[in-house]
């Protein structure tokens, strides 16, 4: 039972990081289609930093910095130049795939993975209860979500973020610098989502091409399924992770094909968006550029 809970938490950690970033970006009115790309960038930069410094802590910093740079590029295009957020979001994901592959060849002369890097825990497949709980990033992931909840509902900045996402014109008229608030929110989202990738790279002790494998979109699904509220999103992340854990544990029994378990987050999200009762309603100004 404890092993089950710990494994769920391990699988949920990247979702928590990325979803925390997704919440803050979407609540500020910027669509978070880029989580996947930020994660991949973070994972690659973490591998670089950890490999060349020999310390996973430098890897964490490098990963967060990488995500931050990617997020600033996204903000430049969508906020400063008011480019369409969906188009740029999709392109940012393609860019992350291309850039990480290109520099993987350049830095490690490989088209599939980096050499082994210093990380946390017992290494690839190390699923021991103790080694998981000793990974500081697992705790940081929970903290990240708590911090986002506090930031959104307990600070002036959070109020401004929510205003920027719901009624930016009204916020502007009372002197809230909406664009600056959005810049900050996207930057935070990039760093946070990058940590999700950092966790993956340091946990597996290497970077592999495309290692995020759609987890950024699961995190986005959690954000929508959790109705953009940190508490509910946390529950959604844990729920999706628990389903995966269950599938891994029951694999030998062949009760449900793995493909159907994979579908759960996506199907639930579609149902939530179309649901007649308790439908998920996005922030009012999501996706809208502000002058």
């Amino acid at each position: 039972m404890i092993a089950f809970l710990v494994q769920t938490l391990r699988i949920a950690t990247p979702y928590l990081f990325a979803a925390a970033g997704g919440i803050i970006s979407e609540r500020a009115g910027i669509i978070a289609l880029t989580l996947e790309g930020f994660m991949l960038t973070g994972a690659f930069c973490a591998a670089l930093g950890s490999y060349y410094s020999g310390s996973p802590w430098v890897g964490i910093l490098a990963g967060a910095a990488g995500g931050l740079v990617a997020a600033l590029l996204h903000a430049l295009a969508t906020i400063r130049y008011r480019a369409d957020q969906v188009v740029v979001g999709i392109a940012m994901n393609l860019l992350a795939v291309g850039v990480t592959r290109f520099f993987l060849r350049l830095a490690f002369d490989s088209s599939s993975n980096s050499p082994r890097i210093p990380g946390f825990g017992g290494g690839r497949g190390g699923s021991g209860v103790f080694s998981s709980l000793a990974n500081p990033l697992v705790w940081l992931g929970i903290l990240c979500m708590v911090a986002v909840g506090w930031l959104l509902y307990r600070t002036p900045f959070g109020l401004r973020v929510r205003a920027a996402g719901e009624k930016p014109e009204a916020a502007l008229s009372v002197g809230v610098p909406v664009r600056r608030v959005r810049w900050l929110a996207v930057a935070l989202s990039g760093a946070s989502a990058a940590l999700a990738g950092v966790y993956l790279a340091l946990d597996q002790h290497q970077f592999t091409d495309g290692m995020t494998a759609g987890r950024g979109f699961i995190a986005l699904a959690a954000v929508i399924f959790g109705k953009w509220d940190p508490k509910r999103v946390t529950i959604a992340c844990l729920l999706f992770a628990a389903a995966e854990t269950m599938q891994i544990r029951l694999q030998s029994l062949q009760l449900v094909p793995s493909q159907f378990v994979e579908m759960i987050p996506y199907v639930l999200t579609i149902v939530a968006l179309a649901g007649v009762v308790g439908r998920a309603v996005q922030p009012a100004a999501l996706g809208r550029a502000v002058d």
Binding site: I31, Y81, V86, L95, Q259, I270, L273, G287
Partner: protein, 397 residues
């Protein structure tokens, strides 16, 4: 600069033509220049000479019949997905689901091709497979359209989520029921295969270019006709430009959305024929990976016009094939980076150019106010998800 004068129709027309040309040609050109600069930087980082790389890229694509055939083959799929995305954008909808619609179309076509007895005449088999591909793509496309029309569910999110659902489902069916052992593909179809260009023009030997390319061109012409010469096409464009106004004009916005997504899915689904009927003659897991997303790039650079889409499809096919041609010098992933840069550059440059053009247009007729909403029409249609909140009274029971 001559200000457009509205009291002199003749010069007004010249000015309008000039403005239209500027609007349609300038953004892609600026984007290509930006991409070329980024490409130069990447090539230099890798310690190669940009001139060598670009020369090799051109020689490997347009310089010989095999490379050119491969470009045609890749452009065929991209034309279909590009048309799919473009049609959606014309209706103000973002179809990010071309990826799974393409797969689903290809899958159904392969199923029908397998179901028919060997020796079924092509005149019967090919249209049957064509209908199957249209059905496969159309069903997957229609779901987000209907959900948008009925519940206002964001088609962006629904199509993304459906990609994962549909691909997982197809993966399951193929893996557990009809794959050839040790592979991830179905057996070869019994009937419905289309001839490769090699059959008529031996110089294309080895390349995968096939008759589906002609179908792609015909489809582009059909989309052109549909959008600009038919009543439903007019309604579709009206909804894309301004749903509220279209609603007042008597158009049922919800129906148009559902129809547009259906058609968009059909177009993407037909793209599956290129691989299944024209190239390998079976459905394989992941055969079109990336084509759906590239379709977005194609539609953007092609300015959502069928002619532009065909040209842009050739451009991106050249890049993609060119990546393989230069792989010995620089990693082929360079073209992935360039593709993304082109998309970001076009998305960023188009609104800016539009604002500039609009400002120069209004400056002459005594209207100092440039349109404040320039960013909203950045991509020839409503771009934001905020549109999902438009009330659609008569689409509800």
């Amino acid at each position: 600069m001559t200000p457009p004068a509205i009291d002199r129709p003749a010069s007004d027309r010249t000015a309008r033509v000039r403005v239209a040309l500027e609007e349609s040609l300038l953004p892609p050109l600026v984007a290509l220049v930006i991409a070329a600069v980024v490409g130069d930087i990447l090539i230099v980082i890798f310690g190669q000479s940009p001139g060598d790389v670009y020369r090799q890229l051109l020689e490997g694509t347009w310089g010989n019949a095999y490379g050119f055939g491969q470009v045609i083959y890749k452009a065929t799929t991209l034309t279909f997905t590009g048309l799919a995305v473009a049609l959606g954008i014309r209706a103000g909808l973002f179809n990010i689901g071309a990826e799974s619609q393409l797969a689903s179309g290809g899958f159904l076509a392969a199923l029908i091709g397998l179901a028919m007895p060997p020796g079924t005449p092509g005149l019967l088999a090919v249209p049957a497979c064509l209908m199957a591909a249209a059905l496969g793509g159309g069903v997957v496309g229609a779901v987000p359209g209907v959900l948008k029309a009925r519940f206002g569910a964001s088609e962006v999110i629904v199509t993304i989520m459906l990609n994962f659902v549909v691909l997982a489902l197809l993966n399951y069916i193929v893996a557990t029921h009809i794959h050839v052992s040790e592979t991830l593909h179905t057996p070869e179809i019994h009937a419905g295969a289309l001839p490769r260009f090699t059959a008529v023009l031996p110089m294309f030997a080895g390349s995968a270019a096939n008759a589906t390319f002609l179908l792609a061109l015909a489809t582009a012409a059909a989309v052109w006709w549909y959008l600009f010469s038919t009543r439903p096409g007019y309604e579709l464009r009206a909804v894309g430009l301004q749903p509220d106004a279209a609603e007042y004009g008597g158009v049922c916005v919800g129906k148009v959305w559902a129809r547009a997504m259906l058609l968009s899915g059909v177009l993407a689904g037909l793209g599956g024929l290129n691989y299944v009927l024209g190239y390998k003659h079976y459905y394989e897991e992941g055969f079109g990976t990336g084509s759906g997303f590239l379709g977005i790039a194609v539609a953007l650079v092609g300015r959502n016009h069928p002619v532009g889409v065909v040209i842009a499809a050739l451009l991106f096919a050249t890049l993609s094939q060119g990546g393989l041609a230069v792989n010995a010098l620089v990693p082929k992933q360079m073209v992935d980076v360039l593709t993304a840069v082109v998309i970001i550059a076009v998305a960023t440059v188009v609104p800016e150019v539009r604002r500039a053009v609009a400002a120069s247009r209004t400056a002459g007729v005594g209207n100092p106010r440039a349109p404040a909403e320039g960013g909203r029409v950045a991509i020839d249609g409503p771009g934001g998800r905020s549109d999902s909140r438009v009330p659609i009274p008569d689409s509800r029971p």
